[in-house]
Symmetry: D2
Subunit: 333 residues, 4 copies
Amino acid sequence: MQFFSDNAAPACPQVMEAIASANRQDRPYDSDRSSKELDGAFSTLFGIEVRVLWVSTGTAANALGLAALCPPHGAILCHQQAHIQEDECGAPEFYTHGAKLLTCPGEGAKLTPEAARKVLATVRDDVHQVRPSALSITNANEYGLVYTPDEIAALGELCRERGLGFHMDGARFANAVAYLDGDPADVTWRAGVDVLSFGFVKNGGMIGEALVFFRPELAAETAYRRKRGGHLLSKGRYLAAQILAMLKDGLWLANARSANAAAALLGTAAGSRCLYPVQANEVFIRVSSDEAARLRAGGFDFYDWGDGAVRMVTSWHHRAEDVQPLADAIAAL
Amino acid sequence: MQFFSDNAAPACPQVMEAIASANRQDRPYDSDRSSKELDGAFSTLFGIEVRVLWVSTGTAANALGLAALCPPHGAILCHQQAHIQEDECGAPEFYTHGAKLLTCPGEGAKLTPEAARKVLATVRDDVHQVRPSALSITNANEYGLVYTPDEIAALGELCRERGLGFHMDGARFANAVAYLDGDPADVTWRAGVDVLSFGFVKNGGMIGEALVFFRPELAAETAYRRKRGGHLLSKGRYLAAQILAMLKDGLWLANARSANAAAALLGTAAGSRCLYPVQANEVFIRVSSDEAARLRAGGFDFYDWGDGAVRMVTSWHHRAEDVQPLADAIAAL
Amino acid sequence: MQFFSDNAAPACPQVMEAIASANRQDRPYDSDRSSKELDGAFSTLFGIEVRVLWVSTGTAANALGLAALCPPHGAILCHQQAHIQEDECGAPEFYTHGAKLLTCPGEGAKLTPEAARKVLATVRDDVHQVRPSALSITNANEYGLVYTPDEIAALGELCRERGLGFHMDGARFANAVAYLDGDPADVTWRAGVDVLSFGFVKNGGMIGEALVFFRPELAAETAYRRKRGGHLLSKGRYLAAQILAMLKDGLWLANARSANAAAALLGTAAGSRCLYPVQANEVFIRVSSDEAARLRAGGFDFYDWGDGAVRMVTSWHHRAEDVQPLADAIAAL
Amino acid sequence: MQFFSDNAAPACPQVMEAIASANRQDRPYDSDRSSKELDGAFSTLFGIEVRVLWVSTGTAANALGLAALCPPHGAILCHQQAHIQEDECGAPEFYTHGAKLLTCPGEGAKLTPEAARKVLATVRDDVHQVRPSALSITNANEYGLVYTPDEIAALGELCRERGLGFHMDGARFANAVAYLDGDPADVTWRAGVDVLSFGFVKNGGMIGEALVFFRPELAAETAYRRKRGGHLLSKGRYLAAQILAMLKDGLWLANARSANAAAALLGTAAGSRCLYPVQANEVFIRVSSDEAARLRAGGFDFYDWGDGAVRMVTSWHHRAEDVQPLADAIAAL
């Protein structure tokens, strides 16, 4: 049983069925029936008119979303441990044509308005410095923490005040919404978010993320950038079909709830060993290397996270009975 | 029955099975078992050591391949109707960071050494002009014509002589090899090709093309560019599995032979209406708009190709009995 | 006496004096007194409110001007022999982040609305192709021909109709206006031009061109791009001072008239040997290589222009008595 | 008397004379006599074969130099207050096509091997992160501090060890060498520096910096990038002439010594008010806003530097008798 990444999980049965159903002749690129349903499906979900483009990776979604908000001579505020800063090999820089990421410190990889303001205060308003143009947060974030509607709204307020576009990296958006058990609108457009990378691959999808524009006018330019980036798949219907299947009957939430529940089980077992509260599907646990070795000897796999810690990630397919043995092993340390 | 694009075809059964088999837990990105087999499988196929990266689109494969061969201040020679020039929204310019495409005229979208030399002769060797750095051909090409080993070797010779990297857009590589009925090595590295975009999606795949480096040292940098372009899929194993399935037992050739045979049937029916010899899976036919309308009324769909012509594309799933009715309708015009 | 380039000429006395006068302590970058006068001086000259940025080269002016009008996924229409296409090593591609130049044929390097429309007609309105976004002409052009106000207005009309930004490469703008003997407004904003690269270096300046925005709102973004391109000189006052000196008392026109007169003298001497009418300060003459050698033996230097032709360029410092010997030598061939 | 920037100073007499002497007909771009002498002059100065390109700004020199050392998917280590990070509007990102700057903390804007190693230790060696490719320091630096040969050699050793290109921003290189009173080779190539932006504008030049390649093979590509960036001035001889005049008879050192001496005078007057030891030509002084106002009332101009500090910069033209009144005023505070 592996817990090193939700990317390691298989695709869920409904997604596999959707792919099978999509396996017929249809129009190429995004002119097929499924792709054409996306705008409507997401508009319904969010209760506001949105425009949606599928892409094949979260990195592409993030980079395209940021490029829609930030010019080449602009800057993007984010946490110093944000995925866009640490794990995308400069994709935001590539798609924005060289914008700068201005990184902010903060506990648990959470960006606060205070930290952002502090960084903004160091930026002069002249052509010798890049111009702050966007702000990006990850929800649920890199340490499995979830921003609440109020926290996001405070950042949204800052964005409005300073003329920043607001992007959310939602690779684990479903886990965040499942944790909050609220309306997805409250953590996005109602809180000021302009563009959302809505992830499905970590949550039971195979290939296909949705780039959601709450400012629909941004989508047309991005459609060009998507093609130019090599991200307009010729058989896009297989992506659209997966995404529609995930939206149907709240499957995206159900999958995320399973993953969150599995993580909660581990978090409870770990108790005070947890580096952060377990809110979504990631659990960071303080263990010695001996202890880690013992867990691995028990057949569990996970990443080391430096300095006597490990990361365990659960996913939609981890049922309680799959996770219990690991929870027990942790508790027994 | 639709003939407007091979992108419209479904994925073939073996590909669907491969995807189902890949649907288990495995390492993310390209560290899974299938991805790791690619280098070996293609090295065997081509009889030389190659390095292979999967990507999700042909446009990404082309743009990444060209970026490996051409600096930002370089130029890429290609036919003026090449897909990279006409249909990729500037993806080569994006990935090369602004290289220029120097386009050459030529019958049937075929690039000849003579046409290339003529364009090269207009380029001065000074810093005021971009420096010719690569040459790209499409095989089978945009009009369904196939370059023979000798034709490619002549271009390869030109490349060696002038220090140009040699790229082949093989979105329909399988159709070309099936038509030639020869060794894939003869139309690639033995003829001087450095990088091949080996297409599978138009030939029965769902998502996944192979970028093949006959100069393996180019792959390492490209792996960074791939990630940076948002093309390192987190569940890459589904792409690798498809590609391996296509290579297994020559499925890629069998599929291409089916498509080519279907096209040949249409070509024979069209006779002198054909704009170009039918070699691969594309048929360009001279018909009046009345005639086109009559064919469409018969239930056949295809693209207009301007000026009294239409394009019909066959694919792996067009069996003779599917195509015969259209052939009959064409013959009856 | 050299006639190979107006770049080879010295700076004129008034420019040298202006530089000497500017050689005192003043604010850095473009916050000095001279730089601040530019907007006003050019607004007066053109009879409309403009915004002006100095840059050190015509290539920088062109590339920055085009970047203000064309997105990375856009295309710029120009003549196939335009300087921006042939002689700037891809600077427009660099500053636009990879836009494509769509080149049009045409006699004497002149772009006609008909030729532009023909190229535009080949562009589909979909994301697979770059989107035509700007049109650029050179006035006076690469063959010393001058666009009249009516010709420019016809192109301006096309731009309005098709939503294209209109850029003019005015490396030899002074020579064009001197030839037309009209109002500079008539060949620029009144005819629909949005951005002008107003050249001074070829016309008696040392270093410094003016990028003139007839749509002032484009200047603010460009100021960032200028800095980012390394073109915000720390002692910009020396550029501003030169430009102001050139505008003072119509020096720019007087210099251009001298150059044009010198060229006219050569053109008259060459008679039917001229490849193009001599309108500005460039003369293209049909001569055998023997004849060219004879002229060179007489102490005159100029560029070969391929195929039995040579190019002679006059400049502000060529007085009639300097040029007459060459005119005589040409007439005597 | 202004002390806010050495960019505010006039050009020195020898530079003005050199410009006047260059004001004759000569070959355009960099094919004139002066430009051709640069390689030789700098090779002599440094005692090793170098290749040199003039450019018009320090920002262009830095960005081109870094682009020669770092690919788009690379990273450049520098101090968090480095000019390339703080004051160039992302020019390094523009010219490298989106590389990332990895910034290090450190007293007085000095980069230490320890700080660099600490940042390097956080970078994983995989394609998800940009690859450290270059390291850049400023000498004399942003706070007027000078790196000694040993300090530079230690960084050079780190670069060799980690495969990093080593760039030096020498906007005030002359001030550093004047302070050290040593061989310029000892603070450059002998210590491992690959590329130097050798500044002249802040040191009595008008327009023109030298980009010096201690690895000559890097220059050829950079010549293309320079043109592409719009930095190949058509009358480059005026830049080359200035630079040659500065090298002649050690004028660059004499000018720097004057500036340093003036700064030393101020530093001595300021005593313990100095934020940093005064080594080059910048003096940072702790003063209350009242005190700053009093100094300004005395006719002295300088920049506020936040938090009760001001920056005073001296330059080649500040003679002791010009500076003494300010020194007295400071001492009298």
